[in-house]
């Protein structure tokens, strides 16, 4: 048999074998992605907090603060969405629910911050405190 034919057969065999095997989701890889998503979301929550505080102290104009918080909302949403698309390993089923819940909270809260920014309401202390608490929680959850 010619070497080229052998090579093609080997390649086809490998391809078919690969198609036939469903890889078990890797727990370590999921942990890494979850940590990255939590860290990204924490960064966005802290950014929204700082943008609102700066706008409240009249250190930025409204368009600047709104753009910052809107971009933070978009990035937090992307972090949550990216992780939610990854198949959860069996060993991480419980952890995954907690992590995804925390990420959803981040998206919701930054969305609320964006709405406040659009309305020019920068001095909602309850919102600022909630952003602080969530940023801390996300930081602690991301190892």
């Amino acid at each position: 048999m010619r070497p080229a034919v052998v090579a093609v057969l080997v390649a086809l065999t490998l391809l078919l074998t690969a198609c036939g095997v469903v890889a078990e989701p890797d727990a370590a890889a999921w942990d890494e992605r979850a940590a990255r998503a939590l860290s990204d979301a924490g960064s966005q929550v802290a950014t929204a907090r700082l943008a609102l505080e700066s706008a409240d102290e009249e250190r930025t104009w409204s368009a600047y603060a709104t753009v910052l918080v809107a971009q933070a909302e978009e990035a937090a949403g992307k972090a949550a969405e990216d992780l939610s698309r990854v198949q959860v390993p069996t060993a991480r089923a419980d952890d995954a629910a907690d992590v995804l819940d925390l990420l959803d909270q981040a998206v919701d809260l930054v969305g609320e911050a964006r709405a406040h920014s659009v309305d020019g309401e920068y001095d909602d202390q309850a919102l600022l405190d909630a952003l602080d608490r969530l940023a801390d929680e996300l930081r602690r959850a991301a190892p």
């Binding site: 990255r36 960064s43 802290a46 950014t47 943008a51 930025t60 600047y64 910052l68 990035a75 940023a135």
Partner: protein, 410 residues
């Protein structure tokens, strides 16, 4: 007196024109994640760009010919073509990033999404490249770019613990949560941002455009050896501002708005307005420089008339390239690609293309047929060779580091 004013103007425009979207984003990202532990890379990059900008400026002043023209003649069409492809792709990528940067800067003022602003920015850049005088582009935008000094003032106002910032300069002070691979990745990106090839091509082609002679070498050296290092100080100030405000709060920089936020914290609205003006000037100026560099490199290699001092009708090919590059840049941005991501890729590929750009300059700068008595001295050659080793290591490491760290994420 006129000569001193020329030196002063050259130095000021060199400072204001040193920082572009790559420097803004990369320095802020690095400051937010690594504090000041990568500042040494900026210093190494600034010395490197000074070494090669001085060589290419000297080549332009003595030979009155542009770099690509000489590279093709001296090293042959094959090496010249490799040099052209490597440098031009990176310059085009940087051009796209700069136009995106202008749109992002305008978004911070108007809150209109940058995608809606891109076509207007592209038209404005196209008109400036077609109609504006070379000296106007260089001087007006370079001087406006000095607004970025607000970063240094903001750092002073933020009142950081200077001892802590100074102690953080050591690579050993890298934050424990970051891996050495990520540290190296950002080091390479920062080096690529500082030594962007287009700066050297624009500088030397500008020398040919402005008809430098041997008498101008002194002014050229003052621009390079005073202006570029002071521009590097602005880069360090951006990183230090991000380190002061973002590092303790765990904020990672992903948008241009975040880059300016420490200035808002330190100086308030007026300082922020000045720095956003600086963003606009730096990115618009660099968009013009990279756009022109694209035209320069192709026209010089293929040997047709080029330059802002040549009438558009006589340099039709050059102006068509400028127009095509602007259309391509706007088209790429209108696909919805994130300009910050384009910037991150452009600084990395800039690092990869560095040997292709700087090796030929070193060869030409040693050729007495072109430079006569102005060939490289032992110091320029020693520095040139050392930097060739450094940029080769950075270029070889860039792709593996990009893969291992998932573009600096892990």
């Amino acid at each position: 007196m006129k000569r001193y004013l020329a030196v002063l103007l050259g130095v000021l425009t060199a400072i204001g024109g040193f920082v572009d979207i790559g420097d803004l984003v990369t320095n802020a990202q690095v400051g937010a994640r690594f504090g000041t532990s990568l500042v040494w890379v900026v210093l190494v990059g600034v010395v490197g760009i000074c070494v090669f900008a001085e060589m290419s400026g000297r080549i332009a002043a003595v030979s009155h010919r542009a770099t690509f023209d000489l590279v093709r003649e001296r090293l042959g069409p094959r090496m010249g073509f490799l040099n052209l492809v490597g440098s031009m792709l990176v310059t085009l990528l940087t051009f796209i990033a700069e136009i995106g940067g202008v749109a992002l800067a305008l978004q911070l003022v108007t809150s209109v999404h940058h995608l809606l602003v891109v076509p207007f920015v592209a038209v404005a850049v196209g008109i400036v490249l077609w109609r504006a005088r070379f000296s106007s582009i260089e001087n007006v935008l370079g001087l406006m770019g000095l607004a970025l000094i607000a970063f240094a003032v903001a750092l002073w106002q933020l009142g950081p613990d200077w001892g802590e910032l100074a102690a953080g300069l050591s690579p050993a002070e890298k934050p424990g949560a970051e891996s050495w691979a990520t540290y190296a990745f950002f080091g390479v990106a920062l080096f690529g941002a500082a030594m962007t090839p287009y700066e050297v091509f624009f500088f030397s082609s500008g020398g040919v455009e402005e008809r430098w002679t041997e008498k101008d070498i002194g002014v050229m050296r003052a621009n390079v050896f005073i202006g570029f290092p002071l521009g590097g100080v602005l880069s360090v100030a951006i990183a230090a501002c991000a380190a002061t405000v973002f590092l303790p709060t765990g904020i990672a920089v992903e948008t241009l708005g975040q880059v300016g936020l420490p200035v808002a914290v330190g100086l308030g609205k007026i300082g922020l307005a000045v720095v956003v003006l600086g963003f606009f000037a730096a990115t618009f100026g660099a968009a013009c420089e990279t756009g022109l560099s694209t035209g320069y490199s192709l026209a010089q290699y293929f040997g047709f008339p080029w330059g802002k001092y040549v009438r558009p009708r006589e340099a039709a090919g050059f102006h068509i390239i400028l127009l095509a590059a602007t259309v391509v840049a706007a088209g790429v941005l209108l696909t919805g690609v994130d300009p910050i991501m384009v910037t991150e890729i452009s600084v990395l590929f800039s690092a990869i293309a560095l040997p292709l750009t700087y090796f030929p300059i070193l060869v030409v700068a040693n050729d007495p047929d072109y430079l006569g008595e102005h060939v490289n001295g032992p110091v320029a050659n020693a520095l040139g060779v050392v930097y060739l080793v450094v940029i080769t290591v950075a270029a070889l490491a860039a792709i593996p580091l990009m893969i291992v760290t998932s573009m600096g994420q892990g």
